[in-house]
């Protein structure tokens, strides 16, 4: 892709499946990449697999102070930030009636508040420099309803609206988009899914396969590149056709 070489890229939640695949993709494109994550052990494993990564920065994105301190470390590493992959997020499966106020608060504070804290720090640096690209991790869950993830779904719908609002205010120097994956087979899911669960998910999807972290990484790379220079304020669904129809189109 055009315009990624030597770019400074920050990936939050970078130690996870999609985060690390995205890191690998940006390194292949010749970018300089740093992970931000709260899991030090996981960061170390990814750094071992991808030796050209910059040293990871530990932070809890749901804590504004932690994020501010992490960006001071980032400033020492990079002179300016070009691309933010705002990827950190969590999900907890629970029926609506069983979601406790604590769980609600945790999910919202990582998925939505965390995204805001990181994006605001990043945008200040991009505006002070030559501009940049911010890509927020949404989900098909932010577009359609899904059972047992009401808090997660609401947070991801929030991410989409945050994305649009940021695009309006931060353009033209910064492009802001959201990526909305459907079922992606990360190493975590691979460990979690039984063969039966996997078959059911695959059957649900028109393309009859689950996505790979590399599929999402390729979309991030495209949207961050100059190839996507006129795309902003948009959410892009990558889901094997799942929500082209949805529940209303089963028959």
């Amino acid at each position: 892709m055009q315009g990624l070489k030597n770019r400074h890229v920050l990936i939050t939640g970078g130690a996870g499946g999609i985060g690390s695949a995205t890191a690998a993709r940006f390194l292949e494109e010749g970018a300089r990449v740093v992970l931000m994550d709260e899991d030090q052990t996981a960061c170390r494993l990814v750094e071992e697999a991808l030796p050209s990564l910059e040293p990871s920065i530990l932070a809890d994105v749901s804590d504004a102070d932690s994020v501010e301190k992490a960006f001071i470390k980032l400033d020492a590493l990079f002179n300016g930030l070009d691309i933010l992959i705002n990827n950190a997020g969590i999900s907890v499966r629970n029926p609506f009636l069983d979601i406790t106020p604590e769980q609600w608060q945790t999910v919202i504070s990582v998925n939505l508040s965390g995204m805001f804290y990181v994006a605001q720090q990043a945008a200040r640096r991009m505006l002070a420099g030559d501009g940049g690209v911010i890509l927020n991790m949404g989900s098909t869950n932010g577009v359609m309803g899904y059972h047992y993830y009401a808090d997660y779904n609401a947070s991801k719908a929030g991410v989409i609206e945050l994305t649009r609002s940021m695009a309006l205010e931060l353009g033209p120097k910064i492009r802001v988009n959201a990526v909305c994956p459907g079922f992606i087979m990360t190493p975590m899911q691979e460990a979690e899914y039984t063969p039966e669960m996997r078959r059911i998910f695959e059957e649900k999807l028109p393309l009859r396969r689950l996505g790979r972290p590399e599929d999402v990484a390729a979309l991030f790379a495209f949207l961050a590149s100059d190839e996507a220079s006129f795309i902003t304020g948009e959410y892009i669904v990558i889901d094997g056709g799942e929500i082209a129809g949805g529940l209303a189109s089963q028959a």
């Binding site: 070489k5 695009a167 028109p206 390729a218 495209f222 190839e227 056709g241 129809g245």
Partner: protein, 296 residues
């Protein structure tokens, strides 16, 4: 792309049929696909323009052939697909870029107006994407012939090309279809009723086809460009009776503060057609500098 960068958007050994390829967005798509290594079957009713484009692609080391075809005509669509198979031995990608926008300040778009519009562009035809004639009209102002023309080119033409290209793409083991719709296929535009209806139809044709043909390994996606810097946009200003520069300045009033270029739309079509987008189907990708992000 420079040599030291990877080429993830390669289309080597793929045959791509591009309608509306003689000008505007379709032309940019043809160039982009030619550069990416695809064999390009360029389809348009504009022979002279089409001939130029394939010559340019060949001069850049690509492979291209031109086929004259009116996409509103069932026999011509079928013949064009057959000819593409004869020449290239396969078909993997279809880009439906043929289309038109019809807007007019004055609604009375009778035959004379239509002819005048054609004259302005000399050989511009309804099938020429993004350079088409413009009729801006409410439902009350749109006569039946205008409606038919709009729906025939933008929607029926896309349907017909898909209908005849699909079996061939399936025979070849799957591939991708990219339809060019519009931001006005997703939200309403003032005095553009028939255009909006036809482009909205393209969006849902895309999604329905994505569901139907995913199992045959065909991905179907849609690009929705916003105001793109083409001659059509200038024609629109003229017909609205507005100074061109003022009109273009208003069109550029969006987060990125400018109009899009045909190349920027073509780059997105290339991404969606490439294997980099192999998990993306039934999706609309808006390329409009943020125009749809806000309520205004």
């Amino acid at each position: 792309m420079s040599k030291d960068e990877p080429l993830p958007l390669g289309l080597r050994e793929k045959v791509a049929l591009i309608t509306g390829g003689a000008s505007g967005i379709g032309r940019a798509v043809a160039h982009k696909f030619g550069q990416a290594g695809a064999s390009v079957a360029l389809v348009d009713i504009d022979k002279a323009g089409g001939g130029e484009v394939i010559q340019e692609i060949r001069d850049n080391g690509g492979e291209a052939r031109f086929f004259t075809c009116d996409v509103t005509r069932v026999d011509q669509c079928e013949k064009t697909v057959d000819e593409t198979l004869n020449v290239f031995g396969g078909l993997h990608i279809l880009v439906n870029a043929a289309g038109m926008i019809l807007r007019a300040t004055v609604l009375e778009t009778d035959e004379a107006d239509w002819d005048r519009i054609m004259d302005v562009f000399g050989g511009l035809h309804i099938l020429v994407n993004a350079v088409g004639a413009i009729l801006r009209a409410t439902v009350l102002e749109t006569d039946e012939a205008d409606w038919d023309r709009m729906v025939d080119v933008n929607l029926k033409g896309t349907f017909l090309m898909c209908k005849y290209a699909l079996p061939r793409i399936i025979e070849g083991g799957g591939g991708a279809i990219v339809n060019i719709s519009s931001g006005w296929g997703l939200v309403g535009g003032r005095r553009a009723a028939a255009y909006c209806a036809s482009k909205g139809g393209v969006v849902l044709l895309t999604k329905a086809m994505a569901l139907d043909h995913a199992r045959e390994d065909i991905r179907v996606n849609c690009v929705c460009p916003g105001d793109t810097d083409t001659p059509m946009l200038r024609e629109e200003a003229m017909q609205m009776g507005q100074p061109v520069e003022e009109f273009l300045a208003r069109a550029a009033d969006r987060p990125l503060g400018r109009l899009g270029t045909p190349e920027e739309v073509a780059q997105v079509a290339l991404f969606l057609a490439s294997d980099s987008a192999s998990f993306i189907t039934g999706t609309t990708l808006v390329v409009d500098g943020g125009g749809l992000a806000g309520a205004g």
